[in-house]
Symmetry: C2
Subunit: 644 residues, 2 copies
């Protein structure tokens, strides 16, 4: 058995390795192991520790796919207010792919423009730039919604799939078997976690008790996989012995949520304000609230980086903001909804998984400045990336090596995020000096990183599931291998109903083979389609080799024909709803720009879209064998037994 966690000590293969849960008062040293062994023991496929946005999203995605899932959280109830609030366009696209975007959009505040304010030659600030946000997205806006409401939404949709957050409950020990046979087995449960239900004491404080008489609070869970989504101070991460790489900055920031009284004209826009006296960021929020971030004096913090609340309050943040907003007035007539102060730390975990059985996601992997609004987005994208890979492995559609791509893709992203954050936070935290170019550098940075900030430009590097080398990128030069398929309007051939291509590339755990046919009235193109159709049913074709496992069964075809589904070979239209065309709808309001907008060649192309919406490979219509080779690299062929 591998020892995990610096606090662990070896007790043999049946022993439980206890590790300190720093944020709850667990009496590690007095743990009664005998009593624990007698505690309830159960099995689950995936155990998730932490029900913030990352853990909740993962629980929802797994539960929706029918995966046996449990999720625990140490908090007694959900957080009521404050914390992260920025939701980027890409994660709204992801919500859409899971069918929950509308429910999100009904709750969120949407921001369609960013304003940039700079110091004016006449003193005070003036607006120097106004621009749209996120033009590359299907959702051309930023959204703000409190983390509390995001978690509420995710819990509600998770509940609909029978997964419920168990709280307050904490892990008190975690071991991953080091038996290779067990680790390689698809039916084994090599992860063992001891969970402890917390009981509020008389003062309603939570504590874990180690008294043997309360053994009903202890249970042992044997899991196929464990996922630590337990935040920046992750107990799972520490227990797994994973380090955080990076350091704290010297920048101290305060944030306050309140309903302002003001004559500032852009109070309902996201504003970056660079006054002579310092920098400030304004984010509009629900219920007429705004959030304001300002830089604080370092002296307000104690040595541990915590704010000295006896000497400081939300009013002090407002006072600083008032100076920066001049000549505009801004006041806080009522009490703030929430406020905080913090030092920016920029760190990435050294590894994101152990033995492909224990994973960390979200803030457990990366911490950074909140001002670019990336935190919750990066966390939920971690979950989105990991979910389908866990599902494929659990369904035995893919060998466990597929799970390697989680760390490969998301560690690189996290490092990029920290690098971006360093540039961004430095620019924000630097007072502009007369004659320097900080402000214009800031605007340039925002422009250069816009695809990164919106999430729509996230690029996964070449791997088994991102076949850059074989791809013929020129055949669809805006459907970039390793990026998400860009949105665009198409019409369903059978009934002219307009769809966004994202609506047929749902996160339904299936790969999608998009056949861009070109003009099927051209005999050359028609012949290629017929050849694809013929190949599909051959034993060596990918459909026969893999679809018993359900993976790439759902092919979506987009052709350029006018409204006759029968023009497509019947093998390629297993249902009338699988055929789409690139045309303008009769009413003139939709479509007609897909091929040109996506740079698709008249020769057509085959695009393989991963279950998470990212492009796996782009090849020519007569290169179906390249698609077969692509799947062969990471899918299990149907000669293996199907796990029910």
């Amino acid at each position: 058995m591998t020892q995990i966690g610096s606090a662990a000590s070896r007790h043999g293969s049946d022993a439980i390795v206890a590790a300190e849960n720093e944020e709850n008062e667990v009496q590690k040293s007095s743990m009664n192991f005998q009593a624990n062994v007698m505690a309830d023991e159960s099995q689950v496929d995936v155990l998730i520790i932490g029900a913030g946005p990352a853990g909740s999203f993962l629980a929802f995605a797994l539960g929706r796919a029918g995966i046996s899932t449990r999720i625990v959280d140490k908090r007694e109830v959900r957080i009521p207010a404050g914390h992260a609030d920025g939701i980027q366009p890409r994660i709204i696209e992801v919500f859409q792919s899971y069918g929950i975007a509308n429910r999100f959009l009904e709750l969120a505040e949407l921001v369609y423009a960013d304003a940039f304010y700079n110091s004016s030659p006449n003193g005070g600030i003036r607006r120097t730039k106004l621009e749209s946000t996120s033009l590359d997205s299907r959702f051309p806006f930023e959204a703000t919604l409190s983390q509390a409401q995001i978690e509420g939404l995710l819990r509600s949709v998770m509940d609909e799939h029978g997964v419920h957050v168990e709280q307050p409950k904490i892990p008190i020990s975690l071991t991953v078997s080091d038996d290779e046979t067990e680790l390689q087995s698809t039916d084994s449960h090599p992860v063992r976690v001891v969970l402890k239900r917390l009981i509020p004491d008389k003062e309603d404080h939570l504590s874990a008790t180690s008294q043997a008489s309360k053994d009903d609070t202890i249970e042992v869970v044997k899991a196929k996989y464990v996922v630590g989504a337990d935040g920046a101070h992750s107990w799972v991460r520490k227990t797994l012995g994973i380090d955080m790489i990076g350091e704290s900055t010297n920048y101290v920031w305060g944030a306050v949520d309140f309903v302002p009284e003001t004559d500032f004209p852009d109070i309902r826009l996201t504003c970056a304000i660079h006054a002579q006296e310092g920098s400030c960021m304004l984010v509009p929020r629900e219920n007429d609230m705004v959030r304001i971030y300002v830089q604080l004096e370092e002296s307000k913090m104690d040595k541990a980086g915590r704010l000295d609340r006896s000497q400081f309050g939300a009013e002090d943040i407002i006072k600083i903001a008032q100076k920066l907003f001049y000549p505009y007035k801004i006041t806080m007539p009522q009490k703030p909804d929430w406020w905080t102060a913090y030092i920016i730390g920029q760190r990435v975990a050294s590894q994101f998984s152990v033995s492909n059985r224990a994973f960390i996601i979200g803030d457990a992997c990366h911490t950074h400045s909140p001002k670019a609004g990336q935190g919750m987005n990066a966390s939920m994208n971690d979950a989105h990336n990991l979910a389908w890979k866990l599902i494929y492995t659990l369904r035995q559609w893919a060998p466990s090596s597929l799970l390697n791509t989680y760390e490969f893709e998301r560690h690189k992203f996290a490092q990029d995020l920290i690098d971006f954050d360093k540039v961004f936070a430095t620019l924000y935290s630097t007072k502009p000096q007369p004659g320097d170019h900080t402000y214009s550098k800031f605007v340039q940075t925002c422009d250069a990183y816009s695809g990164f900030m919106s999430g729509c430009g996230i690029q996964y590097e070449a791997s088994a599931i991102v076949d850059v080398k074989t791809s013929r990128q020129s055949l669809a030069n805006k459907i970039i291998v390793g990026q998400r398929v860009p949105p665009g309007e198409i019409l369903r051939t059978g009934d002219f109903r307009p769809y966004n291509v994202h609506d047929v590339l749902l996160s339904d755990t299936r790969f999608k083979i998009i056949i861009f046919s070109g003009d099927v009235n051209n005999p050359k193109q028609k012949a290629k389609l017929d050849a694809i159709a013929a190949r599909l049913d051959q034993p060596e074709g990918f459909l026969q080799r893999y679809t018993p496992y359900g993976a790439p069964e759902d092919a979506v075809r987009i052709d350029t024909l006018d409204a006759n589904v029968f023009a497509i070979p019947s093998r390629l239209r297993s249902h009338w709803s699988k055929a789409y065309f690139d045309g303008v709808s009769n009413c003139g309001r939709f479509g007609g720009n897909f091929y040109s907008g996506h740079g698709i060649s008249d020769d057509g192309a085959i695009v393989v879209c991963r279950p998470d919406g990212y492009v796996g490979i782009v090849v020519a219509l007569d290169e179906l064998t390249a698609v077969e080779d692509y799947f062969a690299k990471f899918l299990s062929s149907s000669s293996q037994p199907l796990h029910s």
Copy 2:
């Protein structure tokens, strides 16, 4: 006491007048009046009889406004399948105004194009026209959803407002007081209805029992208003002694819902098929189903107009369709989901209300051919029209004379509907002869009536609430007085967020004053706005006279300015979200066409939008007194006591 219903007999002012409920076996003659008097007695503001689309919609609209409402239905459970299914664009707009369009759209099948098939010179049929549906709507499509699902949706949203359908329960007597003082009183309950709860017998048949020992099945409800939404054979209508004017046609039609196997290319479009052998209509439905209507031989019906089911089945309808579809093949591999046959009756009730205390809505008022897909739409629009008027009267915001406009507006509509239906049904039911022009007449008819069919062109005539005479229609020549405000995109001034104007004209029981300012940088226009702002707070201004009652308190302003809410007089922007402008959004995807698209003059205009979305009056910016006069005609001024 006015005697109501042909079966009624006078028993003095405390007597209960029993009337036969023809569709349930109520033993009228043996009714024990003494027992009934001892039954439970309660009060309610509005009692609705019948929970089909009309009754359910009304119950939802009233419940949402906090009106004390009950609704009963004789059926034991909701209908499972079949019946009406066509939902027109206007009623989707109405759904949107109540915040339930998204929930509807998630369930419905949407049809973006109509195809017209005519007999081909080579025999069989061929497509001769393909056109978009409903370009005048915000929702440029027709939708189909079974009546069962529509009722399910309405029940679900009704439940959220605490109104629940009580079933199976029938009215067994209904009286409306003839005491003028009682009728004029705002606090009286001059409607008395005896309700009987039905109890399934051993064979699960429902029956009303008259045994005195089962008095718990009887209750007396005293209501301010009763609404009969109990269908074509309305017991309420008969009890009120209201006749149906009109007659049956000789056209016998059959309809069947099934999943077809076919090579017909437009199987997922709405198709009007005029073959040599007869006419047929095809409507795509949910779950790959279609509905087909064909004309049957009259001999299939008995003298009462009922189908002889021993000699006829769904297969016979399919056989007729197969001849009409030639050269295309269409078969019914599985059993049908539902089927029916019927004779078209075209009738309108002689009056829609009695003493402004008892009303009928929906099929109780009008019956007609189902093929133009109007039934459920007309019914729900009746409810939409009546709802706000009941609410205003109940809140004492308006005298009861406002209720006169319900019959005035909806009777005219029903008569127009029957007239249209006669033209439409005749064309559909006539076999084209060589050389005649039936088919081209049919297409012409569809074009001419498209605004009527979509519901977006419904025109209410001049009345107290539709001031055609004073209106200056030329100032906004596409915002027609008496029609619904056409949709169009605007941007919210504070945050550039795009809205459809319909999203700020919600069915929230309020009148909306839309001030189209023209260019507020033009001093002439600015002066007019300042004058409006100054007038608002004067005692004789409409805001002071009526807003204590909450009616026209929520003014929406659309100006042409770029993005500074402070350019508008502060009195006209009670909240930042009340100011909009007509501009193209930064991202270029929204807006910029409102003034031109709606024919709004550079001089601006004031448009008053009724709570149901229809235009009440259009005047110039310096004619605010005309708005005051408009409201004076039908609103109660605030000098009257406010009913809590």
